[in-house]
């Protein structure tokens, strides 16, 4: 129980800080910490495969991708003067820091939180304690994954291929006719 509260508090605090603080690099690192805590919760739920896959895929691959993009783009931090200057250059108007949408979003989220917690918390008549034995071996997962869910597995591989091709095409710089005297501009 102590372990559950430890991991749960790390996950909640880290997620709050991801949303609350300004520096995007710190946000990515805090999200990695949150994923680590969730991985610990999966171990508590006797799902070691899910725990290790969470670290390998989420914390080890997806977050590296986020970190690379944050570092390469090197955008100004949110709501600083430099950031608002760039927005003004584009939209032309005198953009100020608008607080209205912030308060509306916060109110909506608070209402949503209260409703979710109430709805999920009151069903104490559900299976509250874990009475059935856990199935946690990787062999069991493999047996079901490659027979019952084989089609979904194959479709997922096609999905990843589509994502790879899409990402490469979307992020590619438009090719210009290069004359021998053209120097690269150094932009990303």
């Amino acid at each position: 129980m102590v372990a559950f509260y430890c991991f749960a508090s790390i996950a909640v605090v880290a997620s709050l800080l991801v949303v609350a603080q300004r520096n995007p690099v710190y946000s990515v690192l805090l999200l990695i910490a949150s994923f680590g805590a969730l991985s610990g919760l999966y171990v508590l739920l006797e799902a070691p495969f899910a725990a290790v896959t969470q670290i390998i895929v989420y914390a080890g691959a997806i977050m590296v991708l986020f970190l690379f993009v944050v570092m390469l783009l090197n955008a100004p931090h949110e709501d600083t003067e430099e950031d608002l200057d760039r927005v003004r250059r584009v939209s032309g108007a005198a953009t100020r820091l608008q607080r209205g949408p912030l308060w509306f979003g916060a109110l909506l989220t608070a209402a949503f939180t209260v409703e979710l917690v109430w709805a999920l918390g009151r069903e104490a008549t559900l299976v509250s304690a874990f009475t059935r034995p856990a199935v946690s071996s990787v062999a069991a997962i493999g047996a079901v994954l490659f027979t019952e869910f084989a089609f979904a597995f194959e479709v997922t591989s096609v999905l990843i291929l589509v994502a790879i091709v899409g990402a490469v095409v979307l992020a590619r710089r438009e090719t210009r006719e290069r004359s021998p005297g053209v120097r690269p501009t150094g932009k990303v």
Binding site: Y26, L29, P48, V52, I55, A61, V64, V138
Partner: protein
């Protein structure tokens, strides 16, 4: 305070201290072996035939001034070497180095010589290896200098590229062994064929072993894959701006990573602690011999082969090593299915 608890805590501390010692020993071995290969003496002044040289190095590093560039990110600059060192040590937690033992009858039931006996040990090693990328990329970014950033990005791109071949070589062994637990994989390699050829997976999967060692060398950023820290190109790559103890942590992380990759390769491909002429309870001696041989191979590679240029390195990883690993996996699965192994 049961004897089992004391044994486990003692084993954890023992592994930690031994890893630190192994890093120090590797410093000496590398310099001495490099020197002998280059027909010079190497360290010989400090202690008998230079054996206390690592101690002198560590004392020097402790007494150096701790610098931090003013424009660097304060928290990340210190966090990066911590992440590298922690990941290096943590990966060794699931590596077994000896058979089950009762410590001369002190324990009631035998305990494996392993810090944590997880039944998904192979995946845990892979997961922690993917965490060590963060130490390097954060070091490159937080130093706020162009050599560091380039070195950090190149090094992390190299590491994540070679992780694929690393994982596929691991998967081929898993197909043969039918288990993710390193202890099980080692125990399946005991015994011999024809009475004298040991049943190591290196003989059954030679290509897999080669791919694993190559990817392991690339993962630990050692020559010939150490372009990101090449002195001629990038000053010192991602640890350009580091001095004193933070630099020592990076150094430590690199050597402990080497030891971990060698230990995992020994367990997966070379039969771990099984060997002729010794009882299984003394198998850790064989383990040390095999890990030592692989570490010598590491040092030998560094001082023999020229360094790969970065685009050659990435082309090798993606266009040669990855297809080879995939073909190895396909052939292994076909053979396992055909012969019902």
């Amino acid at each position: 305070m049961t004897p089992l608890l004391i044994a486990q805590v003692g084993l954890t501390l023992f592994v930690f201290v031994m890893l630190l010692n192994s890093a120090a020993i590797m410093v000496y071995v590398e310099r001495k072996v490099a020197a002998l290969m280059q027909q010079r003496f190497g360290p010989y002044l400090v202690g008998p035939s230079g054996l206390l040289q690592p101690l002198a190095d560590i004392v020097k590093l402790i007494f150096k001034e701790e610098l931090r560039p003013a424009a660097s990110d304060k928290w990340l600059f210190t966090l990066a070497p911590i992440i590298s060192a922690t990941a290096a040590f943590a990966a060794f937690a699931v590596v077994p180095f000896g058979a089950e033992t009762t410590f001369f009858g002190l324990l009631d039931e035998p305990m494996p010589l392993q810090v944590a006996d997880v039944n998904v040990a192979v995946l845990v090693i892979f997961a922690i290896a993917s965490m060590s990328v963060y130490g390097i990329v954060l070091a490159g970014w937080s130093s706020n200098s162009k050599y560091s950033l380039l070195g950090g990005l190149r090094s992390s791109a190299q590491m994540i590229s070679y992780e694929l071949s690393y994982g596929l070589a691991l998967a081929s062994v898993l197909l043969m062994a039918n288990s993710l637990s390193l202890t099980d994989i080692v125990n399946r390699q005991e015994g011999t064929w024809l009475g004298f050829i040991p049943r190591y997976y290196a003989f059954v999967q030679p290509l897999g072993f080669l791919i694993f060692m190559t990817a392991g060398i690339a993962e630990t950023n050692r020559a010939p894959f150490d372009f990101p820290e090449a002195e001629q190109e990038l000053v010192a790559g991602y640890h350009t701006e580091y001095s004193s103890m933070r630099f020592a942590l990076f150094f430590l992380a690199e050597y402990v990573n080497m030891v971990t990759v060698s230990a995992v390769a020994t367990n997966l491909f070379l039969g771990g602690w099984h060997g002729p002429w010794l009882p299984v309870s003394l198998g850790w001696i064989w383990f040390l011999v095999k890990v030592g041989a692989l570490l010598f191979f590491y040092v030998w590679m560094r001082w023999t082969l020229p360094r790969y240029r970065y685009d050659q390195l990435m082309a090798f990883g993606w266009k040669m090593l990855l297809p080879a690993a995939v073909i190895n996996l396909l052939v292994t699965s076909a053979v396992v299915l055909a012969f019902g192994l």
